[in-house]
């Protein structure tokens, strides 16, 4: 009889991208049981909203997640706007959808890269993250930042979309179409990828319902559940798309779902820019919100995002509760890991795409010698980088070709 060994993974571990603790009991290489510990990153954001105005709370809520920031800010505003009796304009609703689908694209591309890296397929990792940069450039151009875009504001959106930006979006979608065709071919036809991902981290349809799994994790198990269909908000009811499901109920299925969802998102982005109504982007939002309570939902890239806001008639919310999709997907995690190999654990954990923060790009540099601040545009920043590496590391990066940035 082999000896049982308990292996802790986390809260800080090279295989984890965020702090969580998995205590795995092994027999040989097989995981007999798993205990999942989370909560290392609880920041008390909900409490801090209670002493701030709605617009201040919006910027806190946007920082719940560095990847699906737009999902959280939209969901929070849906609550606040319903409480205040404010209906946003159709153009603002379309812009929210546009940002939401671009966010889904960059989130799924990020996930595809992480998953590829974890299985040693670093070529795919590089491709996916290269393509994600194109989407991040669009988001930075439309909102002002790469991850916390700040496009949303109570009563609508802060920035309109210009015809030039629409041309940029469409030309980027052309590039993504070609790349996505390759990813679809890989996901559906590559035998090595299928052999590595199939039957890893199984969670059946019944188990998804039992553990309350959401998003691509559930849809990969034939669960036809997408908030954009079951409770559409913004302009989702007007925009045609297919809910992608799969039957494999494992990491392979989750890969297929995310890749095919990106194809749908590209179609939705095209539809949104082609059918975007004219008009204002903002309506007046009151400083004080009438008393009441509202629950709103939004389909974030990882699944159902739920927000609850209770108003007390003042400028501050009485209570805010955020249930991010990862919070729903952790419940089935132990079950997904149990029975699999230890080496699969990082991949299974990554397959629900747990949230972690991205670092924003810096455009303002401090000169250590003079203390002066200098604002760099894109070309200056690139030149600074080339000079730095040439001087410090003897590496000349000037011949590397990268896409031109039109709006920085």
């Amino acid at each position: 009889m082999s000896k049982k060994v308990i292996v802790p993974i986390g809260p800080q571990h090279p295989a984890l991208k965020e702090p969580a603790c998995f205590s795995l009991t092994l027999e040989g290489e097989k995981v007999l049981s798993a205990v999942v510990g989370v909560g290392y990153n609880h920041r008390g954001l909900e409490k801090s909203c209670e002493s701030r105005s709605y617009i201040q709370s919006l910027y806190i809520i946007e920082r719940v997640c560095g990847i699906c920031s737009h999902s959280h800010s939209t969901c929070f505003l849906q609550c606040a706007e319903e409480l205040a009796g404010v209906e946003i304009t159709r153009r603002a609703a379309y812009i929210r959808v546009l940002m939401g689908e671009l966010e889904r694209l960059h989130s799924h591309l990020l996930w595809l890269g992480v998953a590829a890296h974890l299985i040693g397929f670093d070529t795919l990792f590089c491709y996916a993250w290269r393509d994600r940069e194109l989407v991040l450039d669009l988001l930075a151009d439309l909102g002002g930042n790469r991850v916390n875009y700040g496009i949303n504001t109570p009563g609508g959106v802060r920035r309109d979309v210009t015809p030039e930006q629409i041309q940029d979006i469409l030309s980027t979608m052309d590039i993504l179409d070609k790349q996505l065709a390759y990813y679809v071919e890989l996901a559906l036809g590559d035998t090595v990828l299928a052999a590595r991902l199939a039957n890893v981290g199984k969670l059946s349809k019944e188990e998804c319902i039992h553990f309350g799994a959401v998003g691509p994790t559930a849809r990969a198990a034939e669960v036809n559940y997408d908030i954009r269909k079951v409770g559409p908000t913004a302009a989702y009811a007007e925009i045609p798309f297919n809910v992608i499901t799969d039957t494999h109920a494992d990491v392979f299925g989750r890969t297929v779902v995310r890749v095919l969802e990106m194809v749908e998102s590209v179609k939705m982005v095209r539809y949104a820019v082609a059918n975007m109504p004219d008009g204002d982007i903002l309506v007046k939002f009151p400083r004080k919100v009438p008393a009441g309570e509202v629950v709103s939902r939004y389909e974030a890239p990882r699944g159902e995002d739920v927000h609850y806001v209770k108003a007390n008639g003042s400028e501050h919310p009485e209570r805010v509760r955020v249930r991010a999709p990862s919070e729903a997907n952790w419940h089935g995690m132990a079950h997904m890991i149990e029975g699999d190999y230890l080496a699969d654990a990082p991949l299974i954990i990554a397959a629900i795409d747990p949230c972690y923060s991205c670092t924003d790009r810096a455009f303002v540099l401090n000169n250590n010698n003079t203390g002066e601040q200098q604002v760099f545009d894109w070309k200056q920043l690139r030149q600074y980088s080339i000079d730095f590496y040439k001087k410090e590391h003897g590496f000349d990066a000037s011949k590397i070709k990268i896409a031109e940035k039109k709006h920085f």
Binding site: V38, G39, H42, K229, V243, V306, R321, H331
Partner: protein
């Protein structure tokens, strides 16, 4: 099941809830807060008979004298484009904030209920054993950050101690009796 059918069915079973079941929108039905003893029976009915069998989350609130708990439920077999959320509420006095775990019916409720324990000081009976969530080890007992009387400015995160100012001493009235 539509919002109107949900409302009708609950009132038919519990006539005392007439006027306490509200349709807030096409896809939202709210039931006013019930004491824990009545809530348990209603929850069993909506789960077992009405098939509100999918649990989204439970939210805890400090409402002054009581703690309130909002349960968000839906039907798994609902139409794919018209899902109603049923929002049930129960309350328990802060002096004895005991509620019963719903994890026997909804397996994914446990972590949400652990949060009620840590952040609001609820006592959740029959909660399966497990790690606490989300406060760190060594968190001082009796400190419930989501209660309204708990102020973050009095908490020292380095020493994990809560240091509220001492209550002001009552000053004797100047001048005495006239």
């Amino acid at each position: 099941m539509t919002a109107a059918q949900t409302q009708e069915q609950i009132i038919a079973k519990y006539p005392s809830l007439e006027g306490k079941v509200h349709i807030a929108s096409d896809l939202r039905v709210w039931v006013d807060a019930l004491p824990a003893s009545e809530f348990e029976d209603l929850l069993a009915y909506v789960h077992d008979e009405m098939k509100y069998d999918f649990f989204h989350l439970v939210i805890g609130l400090d409402s002054g004298e009581n703690l309130e708990f909002v349960y968000i439920l839906s039907q798994w077999e609902a139409p794919a484009d018209n899902e109603v959320l049923l929002l049930l509420k129960q309350y328990a006095p802060k002096s004895n904030p005991v509620i019963k775990s719903v994890s026997d019916r909804y397996a994914n409720a446990t972590w949400h209920e652990r949060e009620l324990v840590d952040l609001l000081g609820a006592i959740v009976e029959d909660l399966p054993p497990g790690l606490s969530y989300p406060l760190p080890d060594g968190w001082p007992e009796g400190n419930y950050p989501l209660r309204k009387d708990w102020k973050v400015e009095f908490f020292d995160p380095l020493t994990l101690t809560y240091n509220p100012p001492a209550p002001a001493e009552e000053k004797p009235e100047e001048g005495g009796a006239k």
